[in-house]
Symmetry: C2
Subunit: 446 residues, 2 copies
Amino acid sequence: MPVQPIKITSAEVIDLRVPTSDQMLGSDPFHKEPDYSSAVLHLETDSELRGVSVVFTLGAGTDWICHGIEDLCQLIVGSSLDEFTSSPITLYRRLVDHHQLRWLHDGVFRMAAGAVINAMWDLWAKSLNKPLWKLLVDLDPEFVVDCIDWRNLQDALTREEAIELLSDRRSNVSFRENQMQDLGPKAYCTAGWLGLSDDQILATIRKLQDQGFDSFKLKVGRDLNQDVQRIKFMRDAIGSECNLMVDANQYWGVPEAKHHVEHYRSFGLKWVEEPIARDDVLGYVELSEAFDDADFGFACGEHAASPVIFKQLIKSNAIKFCQIDAVRVAGVNDVMAIILLAAKYEVPVCPHGGGIALCNMIQHYGMWDQIAVAGHSDSQLVEYIDFLQETVDHPVEVREGRYVTPKAHGWGLEFKQDFLRDHAYPDGRIWKSRPVNRKGARFESL
Amino acid sequence: MPVQPIKITSAEVIDLRVPTSDQMLGSDPFHKEPDYSSAVLHLETDSELRGVSVVFTLGAGTDWICHGIEDLCQLIVGSSLDEFTSSPITLYRRLVDHHQLRWLHDGVFRMAAGAVINAMWDLWAKSLNKPLWKLLVDLDPEFVVDCIDWRNLQDALTREEAIELLSDRRSNVSFRENQMQDLGPKAYCTAGWLGLSDDQILATIRKLQDQGFDSFKLKVGRDLNQDVQRIKFMRDAIGSECNLMVDANQYWGVPEAKHHVEHYRSFGLKWVEEPIARDDVLGYVELSEAFDDADFGFACGEHAASPVIFKQLIKSNAIKFCQIDAVRVAGVNDVMAIILLAAKYEVPVCPHGGGIALCNMIQHYGMWDQIAVAGHSDSQLVEYIDFLQETVDHPVEVREGRYVTPKAHGWGLEFKQDFLRDHAYPDGRIWKSRPVNRKGARFESL
């Protein structure tokens, strides 16, 4: 299918913030009052299409990402979609390996680079009238592998191994795609937010079960006794057949993690998520050895800053579930590498969806992984959160506990105009109308 | 000594850029045309003192850091120096663990937080009429340990071990301080920048030897034969008694690093610096095991994004030289933790000084480490670069190959007013007067 000649003419970056902390949604021990937010990038073109991406944030700091994205967009305004599609790694390197900017490292810089890269992939998929997962599924193995920066990965997975892995899967792709044309990856949902009462949690579980969910997550990380009580409560509520996972959001050091997790052995947990710091690879190795005989494995990745951290966690067998995020690393190119690494080492990819619009993106990665890379197993759970889905043109849907396969082109991610206008920070209606002592109040440390 | 009642009244943040790429100073395989730059923070107070710090950058991106520092300064303008000095960890946590901003991670966020923290330490030292190293040396062990965020470190070093380590050293502190009152840490210098000719390198070596240097570094990372030739050339030029180090600036993956470094065995190198990615802890473990019997050890740290990365590198014996940087992690508090970790595991601390004003800061850490923490050995080499020293009121000095002990208060880091004015980006004289096609030209990827 020929790519239309499309040129990037301008970039619009919007600081979008939603005062979710009013209801304490999404709170955990570290992130006490998050305001689910996004740096939203619109790459306008000389066609009727535009490339869209978002970087999820927790409120304060969204402007830092916006500043970065605006700066990086200088490197692509005026370029054509053809330049990108002929060699996606070239844009990746122009951004991630920029000879002066690379000093800024991961975090804001890599996230901003990812925003630009993701918007270009979106534009490409739209130009082909395909959802993003379908664009990825249709790429030749050699092309996929050429999208990846192999510099720091080859001790774990070589180019050649990746091509072989993708090629081996090729014969089965049409069958799998057909199988998933209506219902995509299996979903799971957090029912046990830290701030909720037992009654609230029970109501959430019943609501989710009615929607077909059989996999539930619970926040832990504060008082050991309370945590154990709550795990027991959740297990009793969902029964022994359902999947139960817990998430500590990096609250412990290695010794505290060992101490706490030791008490979690008897509940048939599927995973223990982020028991320790996001970059403590050797800590994860130590934990995984200490709990080698437990039912559960360790999960992490939503805060892993680079493919190099993922490489180490996967290669060393330290994590049993690989939680890619759609906007933490440098876009589709980095995530492709991580999904391929996970496939080689047979670590199920369970994407992180806790945030505004993240589920809309990760469902595409789940599809690609389960159709064209690892194939499918019921351990490849994709996180689902129903917050703020009324704010987009194409909400994610779950049926029978599975994602309804997205049909909209690209990421299918377009916020409604009035939502964008009202929540723009600090001048949108929502923020302007807040009492002065509340506007920006959450910037204060808690 | 009573602390004066001082209040932070405002923050000025300056985007300072120097077109060093005109002379190709500081170039390496990744950073092809760096413009040595700084985000400069002036914390003004209601006294005659101000807190100063800088975050070194390579040109483009300095504005990202400036944006972040300005945002964070909202959290301290109006606070008093007393609040900080009574509990430095409180400010550290308000910044680094900010409940919304911590989502931004390391990189820009941690560097900006470090700028604020470092400026507060500067102000504190100035209020006591002490250079920063002297303030640190005079702190009680308990106070030092209370400055540190132990959450993720205790599997390698506990609070109690750190107190014991500092207390054991206490009896020797006056003697060591006296010994170092004129000449401080031993210095080393890069003579072999990638872009220089043999003749230029030889001239640099002779000039440095005249200043008493006996430790030299060389950039490698491109062609194996050229690298080996140049190592041989350098070794011949300096003789067998001098220290020779090489630096690959993260250019290789693990297999390439092994292949290249294998050819470096016969030159009596002291260290091989940054052979692989900054966050590849297991890669460093693998390399250190493969070259366990070599003369050289591995060095890294200037790009290590957090104390957790340092913890792993040090604890696992993967690096033999710990290259702290003054502005990569979150300021004095983080660096204290890293220096203590290195002392426990007997890894010499060799601070990174490659950048504008970095040497002016790291000399204080070298002093503290060698007086009050690890004690002194000739392996604790502190990097020295004489770029741009004419631009500050108190240039660093080297005599007999050692840093002349700094006497100015705080970091002793104050740029000359006309230099700041002329190099402010993009409106200072230097940038305004550059032809349009050069101004910002280096923003382009190379």
